[in-house]
């Protein structure tokens, strides 16, 4: 009975399937055992087993055995073109280019040739021509090994050996089954990455964790992968998405730095890193990335905008203005550029020019009105506002809930004495944004002018209620500000006490308050508490730099120099400025 059961078990578990499963999970030796067992059973379509063994041996980097296995496959199925491709691949790894060319030519001659044949042939052409005919464009798909091959070939042909090498290293890391990357790397003395057969399976699991929003699990899995294969860019990209999704923007920026060091110059990388740095208010870093991106695509409008915004954010209005003017002169005049120009001019107190730029922004894209503060909209009611008014009217037809535009039109109408129109616009604002202080105020004045005293009083009362709420917020902010001042003047113990109370009242400054508390606790050598405070301070913006520096000091005091260095480097990154 038992032997019958065993026979049945063996019969049910097809060794080919077991082999494929083991292969997909990177258990190569086990896969080989299963495939050999399958062969021994003299199954039908035995050529498939030889083919599977060929692929296995490619993964094990036993290229001669791989070539033999593919040959065995072809002897039983001469028209099985995937085996031709596989044998060509093995030949290339064995540096037998002639044999590879012959196999690829044959494979491509079949009408049902796999796409892989064409791709490998193109890659080979790239190698043989040394990239002479390769497209010099920037990498579009950061996870594509082929893109890195192409760019690497171009860099090499242009004499940029170091950048080319980085490119090939990444290509090999992404696809260590691609023989062209191997050939290029070998030429410049680079060894292939160590065997990592379970990489595809592990990456798949990490991606599944990300997709079910287990960000911590995904991040941990990806970090393990990157420890073994640091240049595996798809894992780093997914890790970036994971960190950004978990609002760990500073950690993501660190990853971008690592990536930038590993990769050749890639526009898309710097563009993404720059945008993230801007969101994290690391303006200097954003500026650096924008400049690097612009080295690759000099007049690219989104990067000019990013550069201008980061310069403005760093307080360098003059530079921001110059960048905007450069964009405009080069024909990259977009509404965001004019909007940034307007803000930069406003910061320099060049109000008339600021208004002109903001007006231009709205002319180019009335949606910009959404972003323009009320001051600027009010300022638009100068001599030529009538043409602008019709633009805003058209815009609000398509975006009937755009509060800023509605308000601006309300105010314009009020000033023209068109009370009924003004009322309609302002009441619409009030509907959409019931706490819009300005709408209530202007409605009150409007009703007063129209002789509707009761409605005027009602709107004014609501306006004053809302103002009282704003005043209360201001007073609370002022109270907290006074506490901060007291803390600054107090002795250490009292300062800790005051700051401990202060952080219980959430405000825009809470993150900075936690930093102050951390610093005080650190001075009092209450290290664990200091660490906790600095961790709480980490709000994933440039303000993180002080918290990171604090954490660095805490870890150093606790004797963990490695951690201390990691924090210090992250802090330095956030404070970076380009020369």
């Amino acid at each position: 009975m038992a032997s019958v059961l065993l026979w049945l078990a063996l019969f049910v578990q097809d060794p080919r399937e077991l082999g494929r499963q083991a292969l997909s999970e990177g258990r190569l030796d086990e896969a080989e055992t299963h495939f050999q067992a399958a062969l021994a059973s003299n199954p039908p379509r035995v050529f498939e087993i030889h083919y599977a063994l060929g692929r296995l041996y490619l993964q094990k980097r036993e290229y001669a055995r791989a070539r033999e296995a593919f040959a065995a496959c072809l002897s039983r199925a001469p028209r099985f073109s995937p085996a031709l491709v596989g044998r060509a691949r093995a030949s290339l790894f064995l540096e037998d280019v002639e044999a590879a060319v012959a196999d690829l030519t044959a494979a491509r001659s079949f009408p049902d040739a796999p796409a892989e044949a064409e791709l490998l042939a193109n890659d080979l052409e790239l190698y043989l021509s040394r990239g002479a005919d390769a497209s010099p464009g920037s990498i579009q798909d950061l996870a594509s090994a082929r893109e890195y091959l192409r760019v690497g070939a171009v860099l090499l042909s242009g004499g940029e050996t170091d950048a080319g090498l980085r490119s090939f290293r990444v290509a090999s890391a992404i696809d260590d089954q691609n023989p062209i990357a191997f050939l290029f790397s070998k030429e410049i003395g680079e060894a292939p990455p160590p065997l990592y057969p379970t990489l595809p399976a592990e990456f798949r699991l990490a991606r599944e964790a990300f997709e079910r929003s287990d960000l911590a699990g995904a991040a941990a899995a990806l970090e393990r992968i990157l420890e073994r294969r640091p240049s595996f860019v798809p894992a780093r990209l997914l890790l970036l998405e994971t960190l950004e999704g978990g609002e760990r923007s500073v950690d993501a920026l660190v990853q971008y730095e690592t990536l930038a060091e590993e990769l050749p110059p890639v526009f898309e990388l710097h563009a993404r890193a720059g945008r993230l740095a801007l969101r994290a208010q690391a303006h200097g870093l954003a500026e650096c990335h924008a400049l690097r991106a612009l080295e690759l695509k000099p007049q690219e409008p989104t990067m000019l905008f990013l550069l201008a915004e980061s310069q403005l954010g760093a307080g360098h209005a003059a530079e921001a203005i110059a960048t905007c003017e450069r964009a405009i002169a080069s024909g990259a005049a977009t509404a965001p550029i004019y909007f940034t120009l307007g803000n930069a001019l406003h910061g320099r107190m060049e109000i008339a020019s600021s208004i002109a730029a903001l007006r231009k922004a709205v002319e180019l894209d009335p949606q910009a009105a959404e972003d323009i503060a009320s001051f600027a909209l009010s300022s638009l009611t100068t001599e030529e506002y009538r043409s602008l008014r019709s633009l805003l009217e058209a815009h609000v037809e398509e975006h009937p809930r755009n509060v800023n535009t509605l308000y601006g039109l309300g105010v314009m109408s009020l000033r023209e004495g068109e009370l009924e129109k003004a009322r309609q616009y302002l009441e619409r604002v009030r509907e959409i944004a019931p706490k819009d202080v300005q709408a209530h105020y202007n409605l009150a004045l409007l009703h007063q002018r129209a002789g509707r005293e009761d409605l005027a009083r009602e709107s004014m009362a609501r306006f004053q209620e809302l103002r009282a709420e704003e005043d209360a917020l201001w007073r609370e902010g002022h109270r907290l500000s006074n506490l901060r001042i007291r803390a600054g003047n107090a002795g250490l113990e009292e300062r800790i006490e005051i700051l401990t109370e202060l952080v219980k009242s959430p405000s825009e400054e809470t993150s900075a308050d936690y930093v102050l508390l951390g610093e005080a606790l650190l001075a009092a050598t209450r290290l664990e508490e200091a660490r906790d405070a600095f961790e709480r301070a980490r709000s994933q913006t440039a303000r993180d730099a002080r918290a990171l520096e604090g954490l660095s000091r805490v870890e150093a005091a606790l004797g963990d120099d490695e951690k201390s260095l990691v924090y210090a480097e992250a802090a330095a990154l956030l404070k970076r400025r380009c020369p």
């Binding site: 107190m349 109000i351 208004i355 000033r415 202080v437 009150a444 004045l445 004014m460 500000s481």
Partner: protein, 553 residues
């Protein structure tokens, strides 16, 4: 040749007046430095500076100048008192310091003041606002003054800034409104630290928001040389305690009595409507003149009243803080609209920090132009390269071009070229040439005397009133001049601008017109009309009598 010259001259004359002001303070002898606090300005009391009063104290027909000074603060908690200074106008373009003889010196922490004939004896008296008890100097008529404060009961002890005499109850005695700012003490001043951040960049003095506001005071004149504090009964406690600075009285709703408008720093401005029964109702919010166009409060320092658009209603202009615009409120007939942007006032006034404000006809072309005295309160702005603000600032001149204002500062002459720490300013005809000049009190600096030397300006008249039945000077009276089909209105008022006093005479520019009709509406509503008066004169109009044209001096 002759034809060419004629064409050339025609071209010149048709190009309009050339507005020019020259600073003649030094050559005129106006050299006193008006100190206020220390150099670093750690406390707000050191930053708000001083006002200047123009009045003909000796009735010799020439306008004299009274500068108010505070106390200089030095390191080590040392103080250096500086007296207020009275300069007598000699009538030859120079002034003489007569402070000691006149007895109007003071070692108080002076701020500004107002003038009026409080006792209707035909002589102008001086009320000085201080941080500490204010002072009323009664004019003795012999070139000297007496300190009448205690006797009159008007020594408001708070930190007072703007003040104005007016006659809201039309009993013929000027009442007094005093605007008070913040409650503070010497200890707080000495211990002050610059703890606030301005625009996130530099550490500056604290306030006013967050500091305790001080209540205003309304003194009702009893007619016997004394006043009573009628603040509460008159309804002035409502809206009080809101950091009041500028004070003006005018009839905003054309109902024949005078109302009151006060500028409150960082708080809603207040408009007090005279109910006609010795009480007032605060109506600022619904009037549209409490907030700016977006319902926001502004810095609000100095005020002036004038009909800039020629519609027969008095409009308002208010100076504000840096990084905000000065507000021009157009009077719509009992309510106001913030038309600062539409009239071109907002843009050139956004960067500077304003104090004195004046509607006045610079070039006598029959419309009202604008002047603002400027100066920052944070010396620290000079240290920051990102802010693009400066501590010392140029004054501003905006010319009225058909109801819209154009910035003419750059071409207005050497008087506008030098940036200073400007504070209170006053407008008046100091050189008796029938155009308006300006005096600016500069904080911690000598003053500026902007003599109007506009070339090719129009003809003008000056009108002074004497009202034996009301307040002697005719406070609250409305004057209307019509010439060449154009009508203009002015009012007689005390105080105004920032903590200052303008020339009481009403100035009208007439363009090319050689004659005018003058209508005076006295405060009690009685009207008198004087037709076909020649232009180019100064007139004194005593109620019920024909205007007296003064001989040119």
């Amino acid at each position: 040749m002759r034809i060419a010259a004629a064409i050339f001259l025609l071209a010149l004359s048709s190009s309009g007046p050339r507005v020019q002001f020259v600073d003649r303070a030094k050559s005129a002898g106006l050299e006193v430095v008006n100190w206020s606090g220390g150099a670093e300005k750690n406390h707000i009391v050191e930053s708000t500076g001083n006002g200047v009063l123009l009045l003909d104290y000796d009735s010799d027909g020439f306008l004299d100048v009274y500068f108010v000074s505070a106390i200089r603060l030095l390191p080590g908690r040392k103080t250096e008192p500086h007296s207020n200074t009275l300069y007598r106008n000699r009538g030859d373009g120079t002034f003489q310091d007569v402070t000691r003889e006149a007895g109007v010196g003071s070692s108080a922490f002076g701020v500004g003041g107002a003038a009026a004939d409080f006792d209707n004896d035909g002589l102008l008296d001086i009320y000085v606002t201080n941080w500490g008890p204010n002072t009323l100097f009664r004019n003795n008529g012999d070139g000297t003054f007496s300190d009448w404060t205690e006797r009159a009961g008007v020594g408001d002890p708070r930190w007072s800034i703007g003040a104005a005499f007016f006659d809201p109850d039309e009993d013929g005695d000027p009442d007094l409104f005093v605007g008070n700012y913040i409650e503070t003490s010497w200890e707080e001043v000495w211990n002050a630290e610059r703890v606030r951040l301005w625009r996130g960049r530099v550490q500056v003095l604290d306030g006013p928001r967050g500091l305790p506001g001080s209540r205003n005071t309304y003194y009702r004149n009893e007619g016997d040389g004394t006043f009573v504090d009628a603040t509460e009964s008159a309804g002035f406690l409502s809206g009080s305690g809101q950091y009041t600075m500028g004070v003006v009285s005018f009839d905003y709703d054309d109902d024949g009595d005078v109302d009151l408008y006060i500028a409150n720093d960082s708080m809603p401005n207040s408009l007090y409507r005279n109910r006609g029964d010795r009480t007032f109702e605060e109506v600022g919010a619904l009037s549209g003149a409490a907030y700016n166009a977006d319902g926001a409060t502004q810095g609000s320092m100095g005020i002036d009243v004038g009909d800039f658009d020629g519609d027969g209603r008095f409009d308002l202009v208010v100076t504000n803080f840096a990084h905000d615009y000065y507000a021009l409120y157009r009077n719509l007939g009992g309510s106001f609209a913030d038309d600062s942007f539409a009239t071109g006032v907002a843009v050139p006034t956004f960067a500077p920090l304003g104090w004195g404000a004046h509607f006045f006809d610079v070039d006598s072309d029959s419309d009202l132009d604008l002047f603002f005295s400027n100066g920052h309160i944070y010396p620290q702005v000079d240290t920051d390269p990102v802010l693009h603000e400066t501590f010392l600032q140029k004054n501003l001149l905006l010319l009225n071009q058909g109801g819209k204002f154009e910035d003419a500062t750059a071409s207005a002459g050497s008087g506008f070229e030098i940036p200073r720490s400007g504070r209170g300013s006053a407008a008046g005809d100091l050189d008796s040439d029938l155009d308006l000049d300006l005096v600016v009190s500069n904080q911690d600096q000598a003053p500026t005397l902007l003599v109007n030397e506009t070339d090719g300006g129009g003809r003008a008249v000056l009108v002074a009133l004497v009202d034996p039945r009301g307040t002697r000077q005719g406070l609250g009276a409305r004057l209307q001049v019509t010439a060449g089909g154009v009508s203009q209105i002015r009012q007689i008022s005390s105080g105004g601008s920032y903590a200052s006093q303008n020339d009481f005479r009403a100035h009208f520019g007439l363009g090319e017109n050689t004659a005018l009709d003058l209508t005076i509406t006295w405060l009690d509503g009685e009207k008198e009309v004087h037709e076909d008066l020649p232009a180019g004169r100064e007139y004194v109009v005593r109620r019920g009598a024909p205007p007296l044209a003064l001989l040119p001096r």
